[in-house]
């Protein structure tokens, strides 16, 4: 494997409607994309359709499955649901392990899910220290992915899980606690890593392909 793409899901509906979202949501822990977020996912699919990606892994949340499925349809690939890339299970966000869309329901909504894929890692609630808890489980997940898949891959995750994946790909000792300037933290920012001289280099980290960029 010599090329990895990391992607944070697109713009969230709850951030565009903070006043009312929780009053009409079926599962308040599992916000979907907003219309802007859906458009961002489509624009990202357009950007990476010719990159030769062979496998897509996505966190099991609604917004990451939406983002991944839109891309998977464009690339004619399956989505492997991997809990190892799920959102940080922080107690400031969740009071317990979050109630997310059940797998059977996800199969009905998202046409490209690979029903045969078994998630390698299931994180335990709570995870309050991203640089330890999320870093560790993303690392174990990556080891598994590296062992079993050897073509260019795309990972669709969240703010914390995408950043901790980046820290894992970089030399583990270096491991900045906070993202450096060249790392774009926006929703649907696409990070491209290439293996050069045995090290993963971040060659681009961009939102240039998006017509809408969040201000969060």
């Amino acid at each position: 494997m010599d090329k990895i793409f990391l992607l944070r899901h697109g713009m969230r509906l709850d951030l565009e409607d903070e006043a009312y979202w929780r009053h009409y949501a079926k599962r308040i822990d599992d916000t979907p994309l907003s219309a802007n977020g859906i458009k961002q996912a489509q624009e990202t699919a357009e950007l990476i359709k010719d990159e030769g990606i062979k496998h897509i892994f996505a966190s099991p949340f609604f917004r990451t499955l939406q983002t991944a499925n839109i891309i998977a349809q464009k690339l004619d690939l399956k989505v492997n649901i991997e809990y190892g890339f799920m959102e940080q299970l922080a107690e400031i966000w969740f009071s317990a392990f979050p109630e997310i869309i059940p797998q059977e329901e996800a199969y009905e909504i998202f046409s490209n899910i690979n029903k045969d894929y078994k998630s390698f890692v299931i994180p335990k609630f709570p995870e309050n220290v991203s640089k330890v808890d999320v870093f560790g489980r993303v690392g174990r997940t990556l080891d598994h992915v590296f062992e079993h898949y050897d073509e260019p891959i795309l990972i669709v995750g969240h703010g914390a899980s995408v950043w901790e994946t980046t820290r894992n790909l970089w030399e583990k000792g270096r491991a900045n606690e906070h993202p450096p300037e060249e790392y774009n933290q926006k929703m649907c920012a696409l990070h491209k890593f290439i293996l050069q001289d045995g090290k993963w280099q971040l060659v681009s980290s961009t939102t240039d392909h998006l017509s809408y960029v969040d201000t969060w």
């Binding site: 009312y20 009053h23 009409y24 219309a35």
Partner: protein
């Protein structure tokens, strides 16, 4: 007696801006809220109405109409009277049964401007298959009572069918031509010389073009 009526359809619905997924994440599929664009439209409408002398607001009990009414009520510092006579047509093609809406307690906790003492004049019965007669009549019944019992300028927040019916009911027996049925379009009617006349129907207060559906 009421002598000016503003008729307002709710803003753009979330299911229009997210056709693919909305039904999979809403708690109540019969009761779609506004989209982000719809919320902006409602706020712009409230801003526009500041220069008018609205004294009473009446709204359908649906989430999207209450959101629209609340955005206006907050700017005008008025209570919202929840009137079921202006609710969506209970069309069996749209609703398999009487629609599941917010309970009154939930609505009161979400929309701070709701007037808890107002008692709805009309309670439509499911199903409503006759738009021209049944919907028109229940809207007219609510409207006639309100016109008789309140004074000055009122605002009615409803749906495609109920706002159009309100315009028809006001203008009867004359034609209701000119009514703008787009989402968050504002229509103004004035009572002069013993009859209602259409003053204007506009979407010019909205920053982006609105839609019919």
């Amino acid at each position: 007696m009421v002598n000016e009526v503003f008729i307002l359809r709710h803003g753009i619905r979330l299911d229009i801006d997210d056709k693919a997924y909305w039904r999979h994440y809403l708690k109540r599929n019969d009761d779609v809220p506004l989209s982000n664009r719809g919320i902006i439209q409602a706020e712009e409408t409230g801003e526009f109405l500041k220069k008018e002398n609205v004294r009473h607001i009446f709204s359908s009990p649906f989430f999207r109409t209450l959101q629209t009414a609340q955005a206006v009520a907050a700017k005008l510092n008025l209570p919202i009277n929840v009137e079921y006579g202006f609710m969506e047509m209970l069309n069996p093609d749209w609703f398999p049964a009487y629609p599941e809406l917010l309970t009154q307690e939930e609505a009161l906790s979400i929309f701070p401007s709701i007037n808890r003492d107002y008692e709805s004049i009309v309670q439509p019965e499911y199903p409503e298959t006759d738009y021209e007669v049944v919907v028109l009549n229940r809207v007219k019944k609510a409207l006639d009572q309100i016109i008789m019992n309140y004074d000055g300028t009122i605002l009615i927040v409803g749906h495609g069918a109920s706002t159009e019916s309100a315009a028809k009911a006001l203008m009867l027996p004359n034609d209701w031509q000119g009514f703008d049925g787009k989402m968050c379009a504002l229509n103004k009617y004035v009572h002069e010389n013993g009859k209602w006349t259409f003053a204007f129907g506009t979407t010019e207060h909205l920053s982006t073009e609105s839609i019919l559906n």
